[in-house]
Amino acid sequence: MDVLYFAWVRERIGMPKETVETKAATVMELVEELRAREERYEAAFADLSALRVAVDQDLTEFDAPLKGAREVAFFPPMTGG
C-alpha cells in the first residue's frame, strides 16, 4: 500500500511517499504501526485532531477500513483558496 504525506506531515516524516506492507484493518491501525516505527512518525502522528486522512483520494475518518485500499494519505487541514 502506498502511504503519502503532505505539508508539515511530509516534512516531519522526511519523505513524500513510501510503500508499506501492512495487515492493518483500519486507518487507525496503520497509524499505530507507523507510530511504533520511529520517533519521527510519533512526532507526526502525535495529535490526530490536527491531521486529516484520505483513502484512495477520498477524505475519510481514522476509523475507516483499509480493505482493498491502494493509497492512504495523511496531511494537515487543507488551506486552499
Binding site: 503532505f6 477520498d58 494519505a73 496531511f75 494537515p76 487541514p77 487543507m78 486552499g80 483558496g81
Partner: protein, 147 residues
C-alpha cells in the same frame, strides 16, 4: 464545467471572457480571484502551495458538480495554481455563469467555502522570520454549515 490545476499564472480577464463566450442565454457571470496577501506589509517574500495531484482534481470536480446540482448554472470554472507565488499574484479563480445573478453569486460562494477546506492544497509562507505552514481557521470549517 472546467477544473484546472496548474503552476503557471492565468489571465483572469481572458479566462472570464472565454468562459462566458457563446452563452448569450446566461445573464449573469460572477468571478472571484484569490490573491497572495502580505499580511505583515512587506514581510512576505513568497508563498508556496503544495497539493495532492489526482485527489485535487477529484475534489474540485466533486465540488463543482455539486454546485451545478444545487443551483441553476450554465457553467462553472475553477482554476487553482500550485508552486511558488509572489505577493499580489493570483492564486486561484472561480467563475459561475447563470441565467440570474443570485444563482451565480451563491454558487461562487459555495465553491469558495468548500474549496478552502475540502480541496487538498496547503500554503506555506516564507517571511524574513522563516517559513510557516498556514493554519486552517475554525471559521473556514464553520462556513460549510450554512450550505
Amino acid at each position: 464545467m472546467t477544473v484546472r490545476v496548474q503552476q503557471p499564472a492565468f489571465d483572469l480577464g481572458a479566462e472570464a471572457n472565454s468562459f462566458a463566450a457563446g452563452h448569450s442565454e446566461m445573464g449573469a457571470m460572477v468571478t472571484f480571484a484569490g490573491i497572495v496577501r502580505d499580511l505583515a506589509q512587506g514581510d512576505l517574500d513568497r508563498m508556496v502551495i503544495e497539493h495532492y495531484p489526482g485527489m485535487t482534481e477529484r475534489a474540485l470536480e466533486k465540488i463543482a458538480r455539486e454546485a451545478k446540482e444545487r443551483w441553476s448554472l450554465g457553467n462553472v470554472l475553477v482554476i487553482h495554481r500550485y508552486g511558488e507565488m509572489a505577493p499580489g499574484e493570483q492564486i486561484m479563480m472561480v467563475a459561475t455563469l447563470a441565467p440570474h445573478r443570485k444563482d451565480a453569486f451563491e454558487a461562487a460562494e459555495f465553491l469558495m467555502d468548500y474549496l478552502k477546506s475540502r480541496a487538498p492544497f496547503w500554503k506555506k509562507e516564507f517571511t524574513s522570520g522563516g517559513a510557516d505552514w498556514v493554519a486552517s481557521k475554525a471559521e473556514d470549517e464553520d462556513a460549510l454549515t450554512r450550505w
